[in-house]
């Protein structure tokens, strides 16, 4: 808008430049994609059965029975007929699937009542039913029993309110196999793989040594193809477990 005509000319040139730039922008915006690619990390698949809130073991604490050839038999149905010597687990002739790995506690009649197989043995010739298994364990695991009684050890399900009828405090043998009470090792579920982590490397500190690991590569299939049968909700009833490893976690 300047007075001189040369100024006007320059002015129109700049006008043309402006118009062209704006039109260029219009084309750019309209052709350009309307969104931004966000790196997305594949969510690891987790089997539903891994996440069922069930007790670790399904042992029939209430009923002292066993399955032989498809028949369910009560213990005494056989033991009334056969005498059973005070055996050590290593020279069992029956029940050979039982792996006894309970420390120095390696005699059957330490726990089982010699007279009545449907009961458990306390001290001084007294016995208790299978339902009261915790009192049996208390013979040796006093502090743990005390903790369990107060709810400090073990697991309660149903309700957090101790007065609620829904609250169910799991008994010792619902988590621990009495013949081999130490917990077995678990494969861990996949680790975190959150937004944009896949772009960078991560270190794992191994006692001061640093390993670079790409988190996306960490949760690949080989880890997940190792199945864990015992997490199935099938009762695992005294079935022989894999032989205990030396690194098994000790328990009181």
């Amino acid at each position: 808008m300047t007075a001189s005509s040369s100024g006007r000319k320059a002015f129109s040139a700049i006008e043309i430049v402006i118009a062209i730039c704006f039109l260029g922008l219009v084309v750019w915006f309209l052709l350009g994609s309307g969104s931004v690619d966000v790196p997305s990390a594949m969510t690891p698949q987790i089997e539903n059965r891994e996440l069922l809130p069930l007790p670790m073991r399904f042992i029939q604490t209430d009923e002292p029975v066993t399955k032989i050839g498809g028949f369910t038999l009560r213990c005494n149905e056989c033991h009334r007929l056969f005498s059973s010597p005070d055996e050590h687990a290593s020279n069992l002739t029956q029940h050979r699937h039982i792996v006894l790995d309970h420390g120095i506690n390696d005699r059957c009649y330490n726990c089982h009542d010699q007279e009545d197989r449907e009961r458990l043995a306390l001290r001084g010739n007294r016995s208790i039913p299978f339902t009261e298994v915790a009192r049996l364990c208390a013979k040796c695991h006093g502090p743990t029993y005390r903790d369990w009684q107060m709810g400090m050890h073990g697991k309660s399900l149903g309700s957090w309110d101790p007065t609620s009828p829904q609250q169910h405090r799991l008994k010792c043998s619902e988590c621990h196999d009495p013949h081999a009470p130490a917990y077995e090792l678990h494969p861990p579920l996949p680790g975190p793989n959150t937004l944009r982590m896949n772009k960078m490397e991560h270190e794992i500190l191994h006692g001061g040594e640093i390993e670079h690991v790409d988190p996306l590569r960490k949760w690949q299939i080989e880890l997940h193809t190792t199945p864990k049968e015992d997490h199935d909700n099938l009762p695992q009833n005294e079935a022989p477990d894999a032989p205990a490893e030396s690194e098994k976690r000790g328990d009181e």
Binding site: C21, G34, S35, T194, L195
Partner: protein, 407 residues
């Protein structure tokens, strides 16, 4: 009222008038601002996942720029204090440019905060339930908007009076507001620093030195930016910028930068000498942590630039403007790195649970930032474009508009 609307309309019109350089400059800024707008729309649709931020580094470039710009905004006070407290003549006519810069930067600050919000559509919740005085963020909302209004009032009133050829009523409408603004300027810094300092979860921030360093760095970067803009104004307009004014600003920059460097040394000594365990973030920033060192070159560049600026400023030769300008550019870039990336990002690395996830801004995020910067500069250019003809008496209510355009 009618006059005022005409005034606004004339301001609007005059901002489209200028030589080809002016138009080209404005065109570039507009293009960048529009690219930023486009990038922000993408962010609105796809969420903040379009930025490089994560749950680990939950504040990034947006808040970094916000922090830096708060400092710039408050630096206007460094032009105001010599004029209104020490009655400095040289700077008197230039104060208004500092205040205009404050207005533009505060608007940029508010934009940076807005683009950082996950749900900007719920902005009204701030008005409906305001967690004041507990949340420092509410304090920040108040001080920033208050500072914006104060400066809008002071500059707007002075310019409008000049337009009306009226002597401004300084005792009632300027001086009290200026003094409030001086205190307020310091408060916007302090409050913004407290925003970070108050978080016990982040040892990198939870240190008393952050707020003073904030002030020192702002009072060096702000006047340095003013030195540059004033020279641009002097070069491209008919407005006369006295050299003595620039040299006074140089003095201010020099003192502030010296204090800033001293505080930096105090901070580094305290962090590293005692060898405490909570310095992981500081170590990450300056030396890298477990092989992660994205910020190391930046922060050392910042320290080198600031030191160079300091050395140049201390040399008497730098009374020559060319060297002064170089020092100012070094300093602004240095402080931008230090107050932006150097202050915000490392506080998140490692995360409170010790995990190291680094932060790299995405292109979309950078575009949004550039867009806001371009928009801010666009605003400042327009402000200056309007102010100069008014101050030099060419744009007034009783003259035809065309006189104003003869530049």
């Amino acid at each position: 009222m009618r006059d005022y609307l005409t005034f606004l309309y004339r301001c609007f019109r005059i901002s489209f008038v200028g030589g080809w350089r002016y138009h080209l400059w404005m065109l570039c800024l507009t293009i960048i601002a529009l690219l930023g707008l486009n990038a922000y729309c993408k962010q609105l649709v796809d969420g903040l996942a379009t930025t490089g931020m994560t749950d680990h580094v939950s504040w990034g470039l947006y808040i970094a720029n916000f922090t830096f710009l708060v400092g710039m905004a408050a630096a206007a006070v460094m032009l105001v204090i010599p004029v209104y407290i020490y009655r400095n003549k040289d700077l008197h006519d230039l104060v208004i440019f500092g205040e205009l810069l404050a207005v533009a930067t505060i608007i940029m600050c508010l934009l940076f905060v807005t683009v950082d919000l996950g749900r900007p559509d719920r902005f009204s919740h701030l008005l409906r339930r305001f967690n004041f005085p507990l949340s420092m963020l509410t304090w920040d909302v108040i001080v920033l908007n208050g500072y914006l209004l104060l400066n809008l009032h002071i500059t707007g009133y002075l310019i409008y009076c000049d337009y009306r050829r009226k002597e401004p009523n300084k005792t009632f409408f300027v001086i009290p507001f200026v003094f409030v603004a001086i205190v307020w300027a310091i408060s916007i810094h302090t409050v913004t620093a407290f925003l970070y300092v108050g978080l016990g979860a982040r040892p990198f921030w939870n240190s008393a030195i952050i707020a003073p360093r904030f002030l020192a760095s702002a009072f060096s970067a702000g006047p340095a930016f003013n030195i540059l803009t004033l020279q641009v104004i002097g070069r491209f307009t008919s407005y006369n910028i006295p050299r003595s004014a620039l040299l006074l600003l140089r003095q201010i920059v020099l003192v502030a930068l010296t204090i800033n460097m001293f505080l930096l040394i105090s901070e580094l000594f305290t962090e590293f000498y005692a060898g405490k365990t909570h310095i992981a973030s500081t170590r990450y920033l300056y030396f890298g942590l477990l092989g992660h060192n994205a910020l190391v070159p930046w922060i050392w560049a910042s320290i080198v630039l600031n030191s160079l600026a300091l050395i140049i400023l201390y040399l008497p030769v730098t009374r020559s403007l060319r060297l002064l300008n170089i020092a100012c550019v070094f300093l602004i870039v240095g402080i931008w790195i230090e107050k932006g990336m150097g202050l915000i990002v490392p506080a998140f690395i490692p995360s409170p649970l010790g995990e190291i996830v680094e932060y790299t801004p995405t292109i979309n995020e950078i575009l949004v930032c550039l867009g806001i910067w371009a928009f801010g500069l666009l605003l400042y250019t327009i402000f200056v474009r309007v102010t100069i003809p008014v101050l030099s008496g060419r744009l007034t209510y009783d003259q035809p508009f065309e006189i104003a355009t003869q530049d």
